[in-house]
């Protein structure tokens, strides 16, 4: 029983590795450039990056005459 289950496990590992080896990969320079582009495109809509003051959690600023 143990020999067949080792064989089965090994077979599964090899199948998984064959599958993983086949996938298409892109260069890191390309992938990094895309990540950067996404960040910059969306930066203006990101309240935590732009630090917008109309944040519902921040208390509204009140001006008063001295």
């Amino acid at each position: 029983m143990s020999s067949s289950s080792n064989l089965i496990t090994m077979r599964k590992i090899v199948q998984q590795l064959r599958f993983e080896a086949k996938i298409n990969r892109v260069k890191v320079s390309q992938a990094a450039a895309d990540l950067q582009q996404f960040c910059l495109e969306n930066a203006q809509q990101d309240p935590l990056v732009t630090g917008m003051s109309s944040n519902p959690f921040k208390p509204p600023r009140v001006c008063s005459f001295l």
């Binding site: 020999s3 089965i8 090899v14 993983e20 080896a21 890191v28 990540l35 960040c39 969306n42 630090g51």
Partner: protein, 425 residues
């Protein structure tokens, strides 16, 4: 055998999915050499001899086979000349080849590409709300899609739904177990799911009537053979994805409680999971105590990609907002960014002064900031592109155990072992 027993058995019996191409059963590899789990005694469905039988699943149908027929079936899938030795060698060559392929494309680092990008300004993030009410360590939290409600769970078994603007508690449920390690809000906002040491994931529909006893309407959905570490609704209220200390993840139908797909591949407890943003399709990523982060196809149950560069347990994984990458936080005191298309780690967020593990990570809306909650009671804010730390936030008086950015990105919430949750903006 009861329905529940059959589901349990199929969840723990296999090291691989039953929807694999050859459709053969996979007896558990952890079993003792000399014995197997004999559930019944009777005529074998294959050879008709009366013997001790194993209940196994073939093509999702339960059948009873004797051990001899199981062995015969296992050997049928083998090609001639395939032995344990040749397979071992092949797996070593494949692993080396995988490393080489990945290294070939490693032409530049992320922070080098980002050198020209403007640096971020000074950050002033403060605690804007403190949610007090839990009697013990807060273990998990989730935001509602309405951007103001939060559900949190703690070690004392309580699950509380808060209104983050007013800090009022809207609902509270006491679970029958302690250490409720996972909780999630349904997309519709009408239900919450939670679970932990009870090995189950239960769904509670939330009603507007404050007097209604929520515990009475509880629905048990998922069943694992070890603790529930994380849960998440998919795009609808109808399906839940769970991960467990039994090393598997599973997809369940909420209405019937049926197991729709199970995901096997981790060799130790799975601690976290995250679903890909809806535009990018049906995948999710999971991280575990085997230091691996795996990306899975939800429909087939297949592991598509696997990353093993962390040096310790992976406590938290979160997809980058575009869906092309994900970040992970680990007990090795680092957070790392993995790109799915380059199939490798592209950034490490660490400092020599940070020696405590990261328990939980999340991205800001644009993906420029990575927030990490650490076991040294602090929250570190990282510039994702440049790899530098932008800010360090103090406030919690014990480990930060969970951290999530709100759906509209205006704030983030952190939960801690100091019994409180804090909203930062």
């Amino acid at each position: 055998m009861s329905e529940r027993g059959v589901t349990l058995l199929s969840a723990c019996i296999s090291n691989g999915s039953f929807s694999c191409p050859q459709h053969w059963a996979c007896p558990p590899a952890e079993m003792c050499d000399q014995t197997f789990l004999a559930i019944t005694f009777g005529p074998c469905d294959c050879c008709s001899d009366t013997k001790p039988l194993m209940n196994i699943y073939l093509k999702n149908e339960p059948v009873n086979y004797c051990s001899l027929c199981v062995e015969r079936m296992a050997c049928q899938g083998l090609q001639p000349n395939e032995t344990l030795a040749t397979l071992k060698m092949e797996s070593e060559t494949l692993k080396t080849k995988l490393e080489e392929e990945r290294a070939k494309l490693h032409d530049v680092e992320l922070h080098q590409v980002a050198e020209r990008v403007e640096a971020l300004g000074q950050f002033v993030m403060k605690t804007r709300r403190t949610l007090k009410g839990h009697g013990n360590k807060v273990l998990c939290m989730d935001w509602c899609k309405d951007k103001r409600r939060i559900v949190s769970s703690s070690q004392d078994g309580k699950v509380i739904v808060w209104d983050a603007f007013t800090t009022n508690k809207e609902h509270a449920v006491t679970m029958p177990c302690t250490w409720v390690m996972a909780c999630a809000y349904a997309p519709s906002g009408c239900a919450v799911a939670c679970g932990g040491l009870d090995n189950k994931c239960s769904v509670y529909p939330l009603s507007l009537d404050k007097n209604e006893n929520l515990a009475a309407k509880k629905k048990s959905v998922a069943m694992h053979t070890n603790y529930l570490s994380a849960c998440s609704f998919t795009n609808s209220d109808m399906q839940i994805l769970t991960s467990s200390g039994d090393g598997t993840c599973a997809l369940w139908d909420v209405e019937s409680g049926q197991l729709l797909q199970s995901f096997h591949g981790h060799s130790a407890d799975v601690l976290c999971l995250d679903l890909a943003p809806s535009e990018t399709g049906n995948t999710f990523v999971s991280g575990g105590c085997d230091k691996k982060a795996n990306v899975w196809d939800m429909r087939s149950g297949q592991c598509i990609q696997s990353f093993e560069t962390h040096e310790s347990d992976i406590n938290s994984v979160r997809y980058y907002p575009s869906g092309d990458a994900f970040a992970s936080g680990s007990d090795d005191a680092t957070c790392r960014l993995y790109d799915l298309r380059a199939d490798r780690e592209v950034a490490i967020y660490s400092k020599e002064s940070i020696i405590f593990g990261a328990s939980s990570v999340d991205f800001s809306l644009s993906g420029r900031l990575l927030f990490g909650g650490y076991n040294d009671y602090t929250i570190n804010v990282w510039d994702v592109l440049k790899g530098t730390r932008v800010s360090i936030l103090f406030g919690h008086e014990n480990r930060v155990s969970t951290l999530r950015v709100s759906p509209d990105g205006t704030a983030f919430c952190s939960g801690s072992w100091d019994h409180t949750l804090r909203i930062w903006a």
